[in-house]
């Protein structure tokens, strides 16, 4: 059957929209200074900041992408959560937050300015701002395409309406509004996905039944087949996994990306800021069950009643539409179709549209009513990701670009106004990027590749900056550039198996190494970037004059007093909570090893 949302489903979605906007309107009167708008007046309790920390990262691409990855690789996808997020979240909370929060920096680039120099901040601020608006555009495009394919909604209307709602509540209520809505969205995503997992698991006969149906041992173990890259569907071995994903990429994202760090900076005290990512780590640990399991289930269940809706929407024409949407698909995951409506094939095998795994699960298991809630969860994840990008962008733009380079001496009211204006034009650029992506898919692939190169070395800079007082501004800046160049060079000289030189790598000419998968190539690109940045930063720092220690107080580990924890109960101490998370994490890895 075609997923036909009824009145009840639309009522649920509209009710959600009304609440989201209402929160923005009520908060408007609290936005008096730029600090209120960009940093929530540093007054957010730890649990709220913690859930927002998690939710800001939980965009639609995360929900859809992890479902797709679950369908493709199985339970090993949980590495992206268990080792690829949680340890870094604990680290940023326990060890790095004292410098982010304690230095009173208003953004991550501003910390770089305090610790290093203007050029390092400028490089990070500009690359971050550009990256944020474009990745927001990419996810808008993905969501618009999805809603169009799944429900027959108009692409333009779908992304325009969601962008306008996000625009309204973030420009009215600033970061507080984004954070409050992220908490709401967190509960919606959880409450929308639990029944999906429940019904799916019940249908296949629980975890045992799912294992039996998947009938591929490598897809139901996370570590057992990581010994060699040929043994598991990801094509990655344990070293690349640990070093590339768990260390470089994960720490690079969770410890340095302003999108998430901003939520902790808004917390109401130093201990609350340190607890923020640690609190977020608890739900993060169980999210694999909500987002990965649906993808895995989608690969093994069937439904005769799902049919092709694309002919009705004029996406494909004529004869191709006569054949079933799912011919050649796997479970309820349909094949990918080209513009003419024929299944895309590679090496004689049909290419599956894995991104539809989770959405198809909603259509398969949710009756009208619950379907509204499920769609709401999907739209909520989309909006929370977009709002996260928007608030991070308007802060970096206003404080680190506009106030630093364009207009240094304006009144606080002017910067508050500029923050609202940046919200508008940031979203406008994202929207344009989404429409460009619709026409020229490759442009954004290239952009995302460039962003990956810029991001990969970041953690080396922050780690050296925070824990080695000898690191200098010149070392940091040239190290970052060198790390980016190392990433681009490694990527340009290698290819994943079966790919042609171009956006997939190998553009520099000679192919020195062929990786078993794109994922392996990405992990190793990150490793090269990190090592390049680390080495270059150390060498140049040793060759340049150090900053006097006086200036580095509160910015570097060895020159900063340990945070006071005297009056705290055991469950309020970030380090104690982190140890509990680590024990649970170890248990989860053992159970699903």
């Amino acid at each position: 059957m075609r997923p036909e949302p009824h009145l009840i489903d639309y009522a649920i979605i509209l009710l959600y929209f009304a609440f989201v906007l209402g929160i923005g309107f009520v908060l408007k009167k609290h936005m008096k200074t730029s600090t209120d708008f960009f940093l929530s007046g540093r007054s957010i309790p730890a649990w709220i900041a913690g859930l927002a920390f998690l939710s800001a990262n939980l965009g639609a691409q995360e929900v859809i992408g992890m479902g797709a990855s679950g369908a493709k690789y199985g339970i090993s996808t949980s590495h992206f959560y268990w080792i690829g997020a949680v340890p870094a979240m604990l680290f940023v909370g326990v060890f790095m937050m004292p410098f982010y929060y304690g230095s009173r920096a208003r953004s991550v680039p501003e910390y770089l300015k305090l610790r290093f120099d203007e050029k390092t901040r400028g490089f990070n601020a500009i690359s971050f701002a550009v990256m944020t608006v474009f990745s927001s555009g990419v996810s808008m495009y993905a969501m618009g395409k999805l809603l169009q394919l799944l429900l027959g909604w108009n692409f333009t209307a779908a992304i325009l309406i969601s962008a306008l709602i996000v625009l309204a509540y973030t420009s009215l209520g600033g970061l507080t509004s984004a954070i409050y809505n992220e908490v709401l969205q967190f509960f919606l995503i959880v409450m929308g996905f639990i029944p999906l997992v429940y019904l799916g698991l019940r249908d296949v006969g629980g975890w045992g039944g799912l294992k039996a149906r998947i009938a591929n041992d490598a897809m139901v173990h996370s570590w057992k087949y990581m010994g060699h890259s040929n043994a598991n569907p990801m094509g990655v071995e344990w070293f690349g996994m640990l070093m590339g994903l768990a260390f470089v990429l994960s720490f690079g994202y969770w410890c340095t990306d302003f999108l998430v760090v901003q939520r902790a900076m808004a917390a109401d005290s130093m201990t609350a800021a340190r607890r923020t990512p640690v609190i977020a780590a608890f739900p993060k640990m169980v999210f694999p069950f909500l987002v990965i399991l649906p993808g895995m289930i989608a690969g093994v269940v069937t439904s005769s009643k799902l049919h092709d809706t694309r002919a009705e929407q004029g996406i494909i024409a004529g004869s191709a539409a006569q054949s079933s949407f799912f011919t050649g698909g796997k479970g309820i995951i349909p094949p990918k179709y080209d513009a003419a409506g024929n299944p895309v094939k590679a090496d004689g095998k049909v290419v599956l549209d894995y991104d539809l795994a989770t959405p198809m699960m909603l259509v398969r298991y949710f009756p009208s009513g619950l379907l509204g809630l499920g769609l709401c969860a999907l739209i909520a994840s989309f909006m929370s990701g977009m709002a996260g990008n928007t608030t991070a962008f308007n802060t970096v733009w206003t404080y680190d670009i506009y106030q630093s380079y364009i207009n240094k001496t304006a009144s606080d009211q002017h910067y508050l106004w500029m923050g609202r204006a940046a919200t508008v034009f940031g979203l406008a650029i994202s929207l344009m990027a989404a429409f460009v992506a619709k026409e020229f898919n490759n442009i954004l692939d290239v952009l995302q590749l460039v962003f990956a190169f810029v991001n990969a070395p970041l953690f080396a800079t922050f780690m050296l900056g925070m824990f080695w007082k000898r690191t200098t501004g010149h070392g940091a800046f040239w190290g970052l550039l060198g790390g980016t160049a190392a990433a681009a060079t490694h990527y340009g000289l290698t290819l994943p198996a079966g790919a042609v030189p171009g956006v997939k790598g190998g553009y520099l000419g000679p192919i020195l190494h062929v990786y078993p998968s794109e994922m392996a190539q990405n992990f190793w690109t990150a490793i090269f970037a990190w090592v390049g940045c680390f080495t270059l930063t150390v060498v140049i720092s040793l060759l340049t004059a150090p900053r006097p220690e006086e200036e580095l107080k509160g910015l570097v580990y060895s020159l900063t007093a340990k945070p006071e924890e005297g009056g705290l109960k055991w469950y309020q101490k970030p380090a104690t909570l982190a140890v509990i998370v680590l024990v649970l994490l170890f248990g989860l890895n053992l159970v699903f090893w």
Binding site: M1, A11, L15, T176, F187, M191, K305, P367, L370
Partner: protein, 65 residues
């Protein structure tokens, strides 16, 4: 700052719960439950969970004061 976020969350989920329970009761025995949710009227059941969750959130707001 502002207001207690648990209040709007509680209100929204309470309304969702009432809507789903009402819709589920009205569509009891509909073929869509057999087709989608394994014969279970998930609207009523999950609506109930949402209602309890929503009321609990509102209750937490009250307790604080």
């Amino acid at each position: 700052m502002g207001f207690d976020i648990r209040m709007p969350i509680g209100m929204l989920f309470t309304l969702f719960g009432i809507l789903l329970i009402g819709y589920g009761a009205a569509t009891q025995g509909s073929a869509m439950y057999a087709e989608h949710s394994l014969g279970v009227n998930m609207n009523v059941w999950w609506g109930g969970v949402l209602l309890v969750f929503g009321l609990a959130m509102i209750g937490l707001t009250r307790m604080r004061r």
